[in-house]
Subunit: 209 residues, 2 copies
């Protein structure tokens, strides 16, 4: 095969940059639709219309609604994975880091709403994101538990603590506070709520101050 | 109008008892369908089939899907209202009572699943249960906060505690642990999880032992 000319190469790059921009637009519109209607009720035709594409035009980028769902989930996963690996070595840092994540998320309620609705929706029978959410939850639990185990091993917290149970509790309090905040952001302060919880937990672990 | 004869009266009572039994059957089938498909995706025709009724036969008892939803919610509300009024006077009793409620709920996973899915689904735009869930959450928060306020007033806990924030945290931890348990009941122990949380909270409030 002949080497592409510089002109052909430029054209290809422009086209792939344009494709990438399209994908970003489509995923932003998908997020808004999922936040309003959930995955099950969101209509792929509406998402196409939102970004000024025909349905076949959209399907060229994402062949099915499940592909859109998986692309949205993959994006979020990156955020969480970054977060865990950044804070994993230090328990105090991990707990304070969770509050920072909440502070960051408070600025993007529609993304959080889409994710919370998908999270709950995936409890339904045969939901395409069921395995993804279970795997992600187990992964988070393992990573957080490992940080607790390390703190037990180096003697900074009491050996009687059940690390996997504590990790599950942290996931639960974050999910629950998020749901309250989504229900009424003016009434429920998820950042302040998590801050108070973490502060009490640090005290009871003997890590405060 | 003539007084009904005893025979007519008996017939009417039999009919209304039969109607009541039908309603109970229909609501049980609705709960199962909501737990599998959520409210939005549940088909009223499937519910009719589940109880051996024609669609018009079902609509005679519940004219719309929203009526089914409201009947399900009203049933659950009764449980929670009973629970709060039973335990409202004593903070320690309220916290221990929450664990008992979880122990009770652990025996009926499909009811809990239906309710958790409705709870999250109602975060979607224009969901018919939106107001019901917000009102219920605010009511629970107020009732739990009042119990904390009373404990502050009689000096049994520290006056620096933010009662509404603590009440929100309790609702959040219950919702969150429930979601984890629904995701994988073999992996996540909601009763043990809440017990550990409550025990640590009682210690930090100085109410343990």
């Amino acid at each position: 095969m002949a080497e592409p000319t510089t002109e052909q190469e430029d054209k290809r790059q422009r086209r792939s940059r344009k494709g990438e921009e399209r994908r970003v637009q489509i995923l932003a519109a998908t997020m808004r639709r999922f936040a309003e209607d959930g995955y099950q009720n969101a209509a792929i035709g509406d998402i196409a219309r939102d970004v000024g594409l025909s349905l076949p035009g959209l399907l060229h980028h994402f062949p099915t609604k499940v592909d859109l769902l998986l692309a949205i989930l993959a994006k979020r996963d990156l955020d969480s994975a970054d977060f865990i690996s950044h804070y994993r070595s230090d328990l105090r840092g991990l707990l304070k880091g969770m509050v920072e994540i909440f502070r960051h998320n408070a600025g993007m309620i529609e993304v959080v709403r889409a994710f919370a609705i998908l999270n709950a929706e995936s409890l339904m029978k045969d939901h395409p994101a069921k395995t993804w959410f279970l795997d992600r939850t187990v992964q988070m639990q393992n990573d957080i538990a490992a940080t607790f185990e390390r703190a037990i091993a180096d003697g900074s917290i009491d050996g009687g603590i059940d690390a996997p149970a504590m990790a599950a509790e942290l996931i639960a309090i974050m999910d629950g506070l998020q749901m309250l905040w989504l229900r009424d952001p003016n009434r429920f302060d998820m950042v302040g709520g998590l801050e108070a919880y973490v502060s009490r937990l640090l005290t009871s672990l003997g890590l405060q101050g």
